[in-house]
Symmetry: D2
Subunit: 345 residues, 4 copies
Amino acid sequence: MIFLNCDYNEGVHPKILERIVETNDSQQLGYGYDDYSENARRLIKKAIGRGDDVDVYLTVGGTPTNVLVLSHVLKPFEAIIAADSAHINTHEAGSVEARGHKILATPVKDGKLLASDVKKVVDDLRREPKGHVVEPRVVYISNPTELGTLYTEAELRELYAYCKSINLYLYMDGARLGYGLTAEDNDLDLPKISHLTDAFYIGCTKCGAICGEAVVLINDDFKENFFQSIKQAGQLLAKGRLLGTQLETLFTDDLYFKICKNGNDLALKVREFLKSKGVKFMVETSTNQQFPILKDEVVEKIKDDFTLDYTKRIDEESSVYRICTSWATKEENIDKLIEALDALL
Amino acid sequence: MIFLNCDYNEGVHPKILERIVETNDSQQLGYGYDDYSENARRLIKKAIGRGDDVDVYLTVGGTPTNVLVLSHVLKPFEAIIAADSAHINTHEAGSVEARGHKILATPVKDGKLLASDVKKVVDDLRREPKGHVVEPRVVYISNPTELGTLYTEAELRELYAYCKSINLYLYMDGARLGYGLTAEDNDLDLPKISHLTDAFYIGCTKCGAICGEAVVLINDDFKENFFQSIKQAGQLLAKGRLLGTQLETLFTDDLYFKICKNGNDLALKVREFLKSKGVKFMVETSTNQQFPILKDEVVEKIKDDFTLDYTKRIDEESSVYRICTSWATKEENIDKLIEALDALL
Amino acid sequence: MIFLNCDYNEGVHPKILERIVETNDSQQLGYGYDDYSENARRLIKKAIGRGDDVDVYLTVGGTPTNVLVLSHVLKPFEAIIAADSAHINTHEAGSVEARGHKILATPVKDGKLLASDVKKVVDDLRREPKGHVVEPRVVYISNPTELGTLYTEAELRELYAYCKSINLYLYMDGARLGYGLTAEDNDLDLPKISHLTDAFYIGCTKCGAICGEAVVLINDDFKENFFQSIKQAGQLLAKGRLLGTQLETLFTDDLYFKICKNGNDLALKVREFLKSKGVKFMVETSTNQQFPILKDEVVEKIKDDFTLDYTKRIDEESSVYRICTSWATKEENIDKLIEALDALL
Amino acid sequence: MIFLNCDYNEGVHPKILERIVETNDSQQLGYGYDDYSENARRLIKKAIGRGDDVDVYLTVGGTPTNVLVLSHVLKPFEAIIAADSAHINTHEAGSVEARGHKILATPVKDGKLLASDVKKVVDDLRREPKGHVVEPRVVYISNPTELGTLYTEAELRELYAYCKSINLYLYMDGARLGYGLTAEDNDLDLPKISHLTDAFYIGCTKCGAICGEAVVLINDDFKENFFQSIKQAGQLLAKGRLLGTQLETLFTDDLYFKICKNGNDLALKVREFLKSKGVKFMVETSTNQQFPILKDEVVEKIKDDFTLDYTKRIDEESSVYRICTSWATKEENIDKLIEALDALL
């Protein structure tokens, strides 16, 4: 079986595994005070082009990282504005609400929440009697979005400027940031993002690690006592070395970016093939997730060899399926998929 | 100034006030153990046609009553299905989320969440991988709805049957229940509601009291330790006699129903007048809230004499305004409004 | 039966009731925007000797007022230092924890948490690895305490100075403040308290009202968006006039202070009588709660005529009982109690 | 530097590392549906001597595992009874309270909460007016305790029987369970524990893994929708294989027990040496944590070579220090410590 349904089907990049093995015998302090975590934080700051004016923390997984950043910075009556397709709204089992905060879920186009979308939410709330409605405080976006689409620098700049103009924080979920920053039509990079958000995280579990994310806090309002929020969110790994060794390896010699490009390249190979066959897509994306509209019978015929991810029904005989590549996807497997589909389309 | 913007502009019904005065000198136990609260609970059970198989509690206000019922019965990952216009979703400052629960806000027609609406939400969630999404557990409705519309017995019966078929609780917010049950096209009553919901509250603050609601718990799952949830929700009044004296008066000689009818009668008088002038309405309702679409300049011209409630914009020159009558509205004031508008429409 | 077990056995002061009656017919805005609430806030600021540099809000009850102030100002990992006998720790059904915060309950003498007590808690926490322990942030005291004891100005000054020196907030629960400020050995007043705390509330339910408390916010950190926290705590009364009419009356012509003195005077009358009989007390207090150690058989013999409150067991035949007087207690009833006990002691 | 301050200074057991390496290239499902997690759950059930009547889940770390079990099963007004030295009370940064629950912290002897301790707490609460106090619902213990002490089978049996008699759940935190079950004076085992608790977790991070714990749910009340609580607690590892490969290795050929014994053996070697020198201990324990009372100047003199953990001050010149061994501690390092101390004691 070839799994193409998710970015979590693979183990860890061989270079990282090597680093875990070679450091295993050393004694280290716990809770992120180990040498490797220290080095990882240093390398990540360097990759962002920032120094000690930003704080970097290593956490275990994406969902709890979102929850911890949001619950750290919000008061109980403050809310998050997000796309209705946002991960925090759809696939986190109500974790953000469980920590006390409303998500103002907003219908958007192609998964991207733009300045104009946020403005509409805020304006609607401002027409209500204050005190009966929540106070919007954080704008949550992901880049790439849940649909694989990307923010342009201009869009992000406009969104951030609007947020600043009315005292909102902008937070970016970068679960798949490696794929976003290596996409062919991307014009952002880590330094730019660090000047256009208040906080973001660099996703590593989907980008070469077996677990681990790097939270970057830029706005001082996020920094005080963040360690306690990590603890409360279940993200303080006792043996923090597991995160440190992984992330120092990913941020040495640009490994993070080099390996993510593979996911995009193979996704585009599938995309171009499908387009040549006249297949339509739910959304246009240049990153590692592709959302073609396929006949259910076609997917049925290949299902013993290839696992795709059902996304949503289009009509009686067709649905959107997600084909998800990653840093670890083998080109030969993609070629096999293309071959199999070529006979059916 | 004549206020018609809200159901909260009035004091308390004279008969209730008389009762508060006449009982003021007696010494009573606190926290709802006073004689009047005991009597009120007994009278309310009688009005519902039920005995000790239902529990009745007296609480202070509507929003916290919703919060307390929902937080009492839900686990942290369990969610509430509600109309997107629902009071808990729009006008409770995120109180339900502050206690840990997601509201699955659903677009509906005329404020009414029907069995088919709930089924759609549930079916969509069931297609997702369990564990990544919230678990729907309570269906929240209000009757009358936020838009003044009413559930028919058939609709409520179908909704309740659907809820039971998939193990959901049905909770009814009855903030304006008195107006609902005395509307000309209503076919529900308290006994029927007690067999078609798991819990509901009978709103009294909008229906003659200065504060106070009566929560009715029918399903045994809601009953255990409910007193603690009342305490936690800030609804355990130290001098519970204030609630007891009011509610025993309202449920003596059907006062609750007799006085609410006045709100509906005057609302219909306004409605018929406006219809005769060709005015359109956002929604058709027979209860104490009317939502005509009026030219802004018309409302502007009467604003020194009458306060209406702006609801939403229709076009450049017209908006929906809420005209809200109540048990205390004087017919002479409605006649003045009609006279004033007659000259302008 | 004469109730002396609690401060909640009485109705409302006649002057307040008169005011409720005389204003009942006027139409007013809801949610605290009525004329009476506006006037009450003005009069309370005047009583404190402060102007618009402090914010005053009217709330319904004591427990939820504590919860709302604390949950408004605390982050999820921030904790409250309080006496182990504190109301928030013992008699609020876990409401503070339900909103997410740990109470660091500290054993103290006579219910009073002094600067040295707080210092010990803080020093102990500071020896722990930061991030694994909560962050202390608010010191909660009540005055009078749960045991009826009073802070001297010197003690409060020292406590406040210590709090400021290490960036803690000081919050005073004034549920029985009226009795405290009119006690014979009191040297505090409202203006002094407003310079020696960051926030406090003036309890009125125990001091003449049927419900209602006045929250005073002094430190600017407490002020922003407090209205939303009131809403979330279930303390935003729809018909805020009920609070406004009561509190404006209490703070007109010093009624609040004049009536509370009665509670203290009668408590001292009981105290002096019991002392003359050689009865010992659990704690020495000059306010409306007295805690004599009585033989259980004595209390048993008077129990058909007088309800006292069992506090705790001392030995096989004796217990501490609370005798609680109030603004409404009649001297003739106290005389009857003395007479009854005189025959038995 | 030789670290003896903590059980988190080491990497992962070589056999586990080998398993991680050898399985790295296989494609697997995410979120715990991988083959290795499946196998680990099977092996753990076997080790407990139970079948599908118990549920086993793999989680990442100890603190969030406690939080998730407790928050899963408790209503907002329900509380946990625990020793005041309990990890949830002292070193989890208020995580349990952040999810809404009060901990009733109880002073106990040697870290062990016995049936009589729980009874006292419950009896005290039952004397209070119901509704104003929290409802005790879960008893939390750890075995070994925070002080390294062990429950005997008789003590656990009595505690569990008491809990059942008054409808309390008993939950055991087994962060160091491997050391407990291999201690020389232990008379418990996994099967017995599974019949004397409602839920417990088998700690692996301290016992050979780099991260990972196994939660065992015995009482059916804990089982429904536990997966969502894992997600909400930040414990649902996307690449669950990391936990699966580790725990299947630990529970193959009794590796878990074989390696933990080393920690105890070396702890006893230190203990016997210190006793022979007349050193006193804060508490008597046969597990991997020893708490000798040492002169501060002695610890100061060895601090460039050995890191111990300061626990608490005894007098001006002496303190309790924790010496913590583990599965990975080398006997040669313990010999070096003994040699160094031998010259100073």
